[in-house]
Amino acid sequence: MNILIRIKRFDPERDSKPYWDEFRVEADPIDRLLDTLNTIKWTMDGTLTFRRSCAHGVCGSDAMRINGRNRLACKVLMRDVGNKVTIEPMLGYAVIKDLVVDMDRFFEKYRSVKPFLITYDNEPGTERLQSQAQREVYDEGTKCILCGACTGSCPSIWGNPDWVGPASIVNAHRFIFDSRDQGAAERLQLLSRKDGVWRCRTIFNCADACPRGIPVTDLIEQVKRAIVYGGPEEA
């Protein structure tokens, strides 16, 4: 199939403002969009810039705005995009070059919610016990690959760049609801602040954007409830 690819380009070293560039490429219907971007880079325009690594949706490098929605370029197949595709960098992040955005802020916010196991007991000689049901409660959040697609699709972030954003809350949830963790109160306190969970307006863009199928909005709701009720519900 022959496809017209429109890409929003911007190299601050060279360009005074972003512009639209167009490429016509031949692609196989089951090629990934990432393959097509590589074809452009390798055979047409070596200056086209984007991130990628794993090429199969597990590393989170290549989140970008594809036909108006945040997607991983390596999980979108050519047959699913139609004969004209528009690609832009994700909104809500500063552009470094072309499709590459600055993720430093995103990772800072992630770190701010204490996304690590907090325990005050002595460690047992073997594993800590956890039932299958207890494990299930926080399973969804463990799938997060920190691609930033949810956060970049959220109108609350566009309006309030300081907001902690959905990805951080997903990862806080992952620990708040882990039966082995003893830091729920600290995290809930952090998240109850001005730039915490309450800026979420339940718009569901995040859940739609998540390439890992995480019910992001539901998890945020659970955290809100935990704040209101003073702790996570037991499994």
Binding site: R51, C59, L117, E127
Partner: protein, 578 residues
């Protein structure tokens, strides 16, 4: 720009992060060319092996036996003992750091079957693989990264290391390109750890990420350090047809089977005891044999992986990611259809030679280079010998990553910084400048794809003298062409074209060493299978290859190092049957 740290770690996969964790009182820099959580460890699916015995009786010594035999006896046995003994505590450590393992009904870490892991020295399969659904590597990487946040490790993200600095016979730093700015940085350290992963991108069909370009191996090789056993490269049996994306062995661990074009579950014929759970080198060869015998699907170059009989529920619970891959990249529904697969380039058993404390050694006499360490896939201790068992890489990362960290912690107490060598940035600056200014007209992408095709054609599951010689000539040509690589992007800022060109240089070096080792080794052992020498030859070849770089592709120097055996009849080399 100049930076000074006690320890400089290159690579933030499982190995690099595990090492960083052991250094709470030192100043540590972790350099990585991708964000830490994008490292390739995150792609590992199946699990991490440890003889916990949570499902049935198990012992580290059985695990050691499997590792040694799986590696076709090219394993250094004392290292395998450390691997399998320490695995148990290392897995508990991961759990204590928060890793969300699947659980048994009793709340213990759950374990499942995996290829080549057996009970009682080969009697039958044993459940030894500890797992978190089919994203165990992802969970290891996340858990380690999360722990590192707690420990306030200093990261330099998207820094591409170009060179290793050596002075007075000691490693003392690295030079790196900051991708965002194009600036060159020097990191001065007392101890340097390479944890840069593998080089699967040398083959066209591979399970490896774009980042797996052999960086660390090549950088060391250019500085006179040998590469060990590079001919031992693993081709995993079940890559998605044409794409190479991995369908984890967990699929067979849970009961999936290989099916040929005649509708036959053919592994039963080749390996009556372990069947589809035989080690990877064997299963890959069986697939290639089936295809050669005309038993591929519709006579073509692939067979099926069949999980239909597991049922929708088990597939959804235990194999969600890989089901997703089949749906996404092939449009195949594994619950109702078998999945087309072929062998895919997967794992480097070889690499930078190290001792059991992850110290890099320079020759057949085990002479260490003070201050230089390597761990993970980039290193060769050697616990995987000629063929790695599934789930043994993740253990390798955590066990030897940890040992590297602990040894460095002691080492930096006892030493001070060695001064940097004169003109220490010269090599890197010239390399980058040459790429910027070249008008040679060659395309890095084109050279890379020629290399990848050649490696699939002649340095794959089956090898011959003629094919390997062809590959060597080809590499020599490609290296000449590489000198004329010209970039379109002349900018400093986030120049990924520059990055890809530099990485191609790494890949060519690793391929060169692989071919030399393979050409010289006139026997078949583990993953190295020679059609013209089909038998293992312990009299002449029970030894490790060391390849030293020459001035061009044809004049690599080879040396050999003894395999270390221990005095226990159980581990004596014998014929490998399953």
């Amino acid at each position: 720009m100049y930076h000074k740290f006690d320890v400089v770690i290159v690579g933030s996969g499982g190995a690099g992060l595990m090492a960083a964790m052991q250094l709470p009182n030192a100043s540590v820099a972790v350099l990585t060319k991708v964000y830490p959580t994008r490292s390739h460890t995150g792609a590992a699916q199946g699990g991490v092996a440890a003889a916990l015995g949570n499902r049935e009786e198990d012992h580290w010594k059985w695990h050691m036996y499997d590792t040694v035999k799986g590696g076709d006896y090219l394993v250094d046995q004392p290292a395998a003992e450390i691997l399998t003994r320490d695995a148990i505590d290392a897995v508990y450590e991961l759990e204590h750091r928060g890793l969300p393992f699947n659980r048994t009904e009793d709340g213990l870490i759950d374990q499942r079957f995996f290829g080549g892991h057996t009970r009682n020295y080969g009697e039958g399969p044993v459940r030894r693989s500890c797992y978190a659904a089919d994203r165990t590597g992802h969970m290891i990487l996340q858990t380690m990264y999360q722990s590192s946040i707690k420990n306030e490790v200093r990261y330099f993200n998207e820094f591409l290391v170009l060179d290793l600095l050596i002075n007075e016979g000691q490693a003392c730093g690295v030079v790196a390109l900051e991708i965002k700015t194009g600036e060159i940085h020097t990191f001065h350290g007392k101890a340097i750890l390479f944890a840069t992963g593998g080089y699967g991108r040398a083959w066209r069909v591979t399970s490896n990420a774009f980042a797996c370009m052999g960086d660390g191996m090549s950088i060391a090789y250019r500085r006179g350090i040998p590469l060990q056993d590079m001919e031992m490269y693993q081709f995993h049996p079940t890559g998605i047809y044409k794409v190479g994306v991995l369908l984890s062995e967990a699929a067979r661990g849970e009961g999936g089977k290989l099916l040929n074009g005649k509708g036959e579950y053919f592994m039963e014929r080749y390996m009556p005891t372990l069947k589809d759970l035989a080690p990877r080198d064997i299963v890959s060869r069986c697939i290639v044999q089936e295809i050669k015998d005309g038993n591929g699907i519709d006579g073509k170059d692939y067979v099926y992986l069949d999980v239909r009989h597991l049922g929708a529920e088990k597939i959804a619970e235990k194999l969600p990611d890989i089901t997703d891959f089949a749906r996404n990249y092939l449009g195949v529904e594994p619950i109702t259809e078998p999945v087309p697969i072929q062998p895919t380039a997967h794992y480097a058993m070889g690499g930078i030679p190290t001792d059991i404390d992850a110290r890099v050694v320079l020759d057949s006499q085990w002479t260490p280079m003070p201050g230089f360490y390597a761990a993970g896939e980039v290193a060769c201790v050697s616990v995987h010998g000629a063929n790695r068992l599934g789930t043994n890489s993740l253990v390798d990362l955590i066990v030897f990553g940890r040992r590297a960290g602990k040894h460095m912690a002691k080492f930096i107490e006892e030493t001070s910084h060695v001064p940097l060598p004169a003109n220490h940035e010269e090599f890197s600056r010239e390399y980058v400048d040459r790429l910027y200014s070249s008008t040679g007209g060659e395309s890095a992408a084109h050279i890379r794809s020629e290399l990848q095709n050649e490696m699939i054609d002649n340095v794959f599951v089956e090898r011959t003298d003629e094919g390997l010689r062809h590959a060597l000539d080809k590499i020599a040509d490609l290296q000449e062409a590489y000198k004329k690589v010209q970039l379109q992007d002349k900018g400093k800022r986030f120049n990924t074209e520059m990055m890809e060109a530099i990485e191609l240089g790494f890949l060519l070096d690793c391929s060169e060493a692989t071919i030399h080792g393979a050409l010289a080794r006139t026997e078949s052992r583990g993953a190295h299978f020679r059609l013209d020498y089909q038998k293992r030859d312990d009299v002449n070849w029970l030894k490790h290859t060391l390849a030293y770089r020459g001035t061009k592709a044809h004049d690599v120097r080879l040396d050999y190092k003894d395999v270390i055996l221990i005095d226990d009849p159980i581990f004596k080399p014998k014929e490998r049957k399953y």
